[in-house]
């Protein structure tokens, strides 16, 4: 396998972007990444998008976006793994370069979620769950994570405060991110008293409905050197799946796909969790961040909540998590999320994170964990300053 680096990053502001279309969002992020990398062409493009068919009635994205990006006859495709579609696009691009099939590849992600009603968005997102045996019975996405939260609280004594602390931390970080949808701080009390969605999860435990896109340019380390950009090498990539339906899993308090994807990424990188300086993880709901921390092996099961309360994952903690604000504060345009996580890790490794959220610890190794549905798929990537 050839060594692969990320040499360009770009993203749109996340939020309710009424004035920009689905295609405009993607092209804006893609052009920003091309400009940042300084490349004069692409060999191919992989786009992560969960369900543009349900959100805007548009499929066939590879061709549409290549055309609007002015890339005639480009080899372009779309990949899907629910909310992990962006992470899958990144892995696909990585493998294409590592295998010497292409030299310069764009991995992008996009979702336009506010062109339909809230009911419509709930329906579209539920397409990532088991339609016949979960959604049919009235389960919603917050509902599925709530089922895991209750199981986790019952088994380990996880508390309301532990969930709230995740939201407070991520909004604090997001308040310093100019690309965030909700760049404001929240208090423990506000989270605990916010509107109930699916007990025990409140609205401030949930990531929002978001429009947005992100894109990165990957190439070989040799070409990266010629471009003169900081070289952020991809040293580990892992991908795993699990049963979509929660009732088909043995244990509701852990995320098996995350554990296995991380093990694969660590093995490829020749590293363990102890060698990682910080991570962007899939906090679609506050309980998800706690379960991911435990499933990655960062904390033993049941111990993540107290660690967040202790500030161990804050910007100045020993293992900062979601310096971007995470999905909670930055926003969660589902197909774009996995790529936006890479954008943040690259910014931190380059020392370019805005408005005082740059880690002072001079990080060298960062990690992303991007999850589909209620944990039915996971992509983990490890990046290092070369």
């Amino acid at each position: 396998m050839r060594d692969v680096a990320v040499v360009g990053i770009g993203m749109t502001k996340f939020g309710e972007i009424w004035e920009k279309s689905f295609r405009d969002l993607y092209v804006e992020a893609a052009l920003a990444a091309i400009d940042d990398a300084g490349v004069d062409h692409l060999d191919s493009m992989v786009i992560g998008c969960m369900t543009s068919g349900l959100f805007v009635g548009q499929e066939h994205l590879g061709s549409l976006m290549a055309d609007y990006l002015g890339q005639k006859q480009l080899a372009a495709s779309r990949v899907e793994s629910a909310c992990a579609s962006g992470g899958l696009a990144f892995r696909t691009a990585f493998l294409e370069i590592a295998s010497a099939a292409s030299d310069i590849v764009m991995a992008g992600g996009v979702e336009k979620m506010t062109d339909i009603s809230g009911d419509g968005a709930t329906y579209a997102l539920a397409a990532a769950a088991d339609q016949e045996y979960e959604v049919f019975h009235g389960a919603t996405f917050p509902g599925l994570y709530a089922l895991m939260a209750v199981a986790h609280m019952n088994k380990y004594g996880t508390t309301r405060d532990m969930l709230s602390a995740v939201a407070v931390k991520n909004h604090h970080n997001g308040s310093m991110n100019p690309y965030a949808q909700y760049p404001f701080k929240v208090t423990m009390d506000q989270v605990a008293k916010s509107v109930k969605v699916a007990d025990p999860l409140n609205i401030l435990d949930c990531s929002p409905i978001t429009d947005g896109a992100a894109a990165v340019i990957l190439t070989t380390v040799e070409i990266a050197k010629k471009l003169g950009k900081p070289i952020i090498k991809i040293i580990g990539s892992g991908h795993a799946t699990d049963a979509i339906a929660l009732h088909s899993r043995d244990d509701l308090t852990t995320l098996k796909a995350t554990t296995v994807a991380a093990e694969k990424a660590f093995k490829m990188a020749g590293k363990t969790i102890k060698d990682i300086d910080f991570a962007e993880v899939h906090d679609c709901f506050t309980i998800a961040e706690l379960m991911v921390m435990e499933s990655l092996g960062l904390y033993t099961p049941g111990k993540a909540g107290q660690a967040v309360l202790n500030g161990e994952t804050a910007l100045d903690g020993k293992f900062p998590i979601n310096t971007s604000g995470g999905l909670k504060s930055k926003g969660h345009p589902v197909g774009a999320t996995g790529v936006a996580q890479v954008v943040e890790v690259v910014k931190q490794l380059r020392g370019e994170a805005e408005n005082g959220r740059q880690l002072k610890s001079n990080p060298k190794v960062g990690m992303t964990q991007n999850m589909g549905g209620s944990g039915g798929s996971t992509l983990v990537h490890i990046m290092e300053v070369a």
Binding site: A126, H137, G138, T140, G143, M148, N154, K196, V197, A198
Partner: protein, 131 residues
């Protein structure tokens, strides 16, 4: 919802039919073509027991459009006596009395309606044993 899609699942939803692997004994619900434990492809048709214990639950307060008139409603995962788990709504319950480990039985109920002129969907719901 197209009638064939509902009819196709009726043996599971109406009669709780499941498959028991003829090689390793693993019970799959709903029916599958290959055993996820041992890879065997022959199953014996069995019926699931109609009682179990609640493994976890939630109260859905923001519901999708087919269920808005039912909200708030409880949804849970139960483990049946033979170890099979399934997800369903918890009907006829006092929300604040729900707890992990409580006994439930399975009843045949209406699940959702597809508008005023559409198909009525039936299936199973959990009912707490205190009733």
């Amino acid at each position: 919802m197209f009638p064939s899609r509902i009819w196709r699942e009726s043996k599971h939803r109406y009669r709780l039919e499941a498959g028991k692997c003829k090689k390793c004994g693993k019970i799959v619900f709903p029916y599958r073509l290959i055993c996820p434990e041992c890879g065997h492809r022959e199953f014996e048709n069995i019926n699931l027991p109609d009682t179990g214990k609640l493994v976890t639950y939630t109260v859905i307060r923001v519901a999708p459009s087919q269920f808005t008139d039912q909200a708030p409603y409880a949804v849970g995962i139960a483990e049946l006596a033979n170890g099979v788990r399934l997800l369903a709504q918890i009907a006829d319950c006092e929300i604040e009395k729900l707890k992990v480990g409580m006994d439930i039985r399975i009843e045949f109920r209406r699940i959702q309606t597809d508008g005023h002129h559409g198909v009525l969907s039936y299936g199973y719901k959990f009912v707490p044993k205190w009733y």
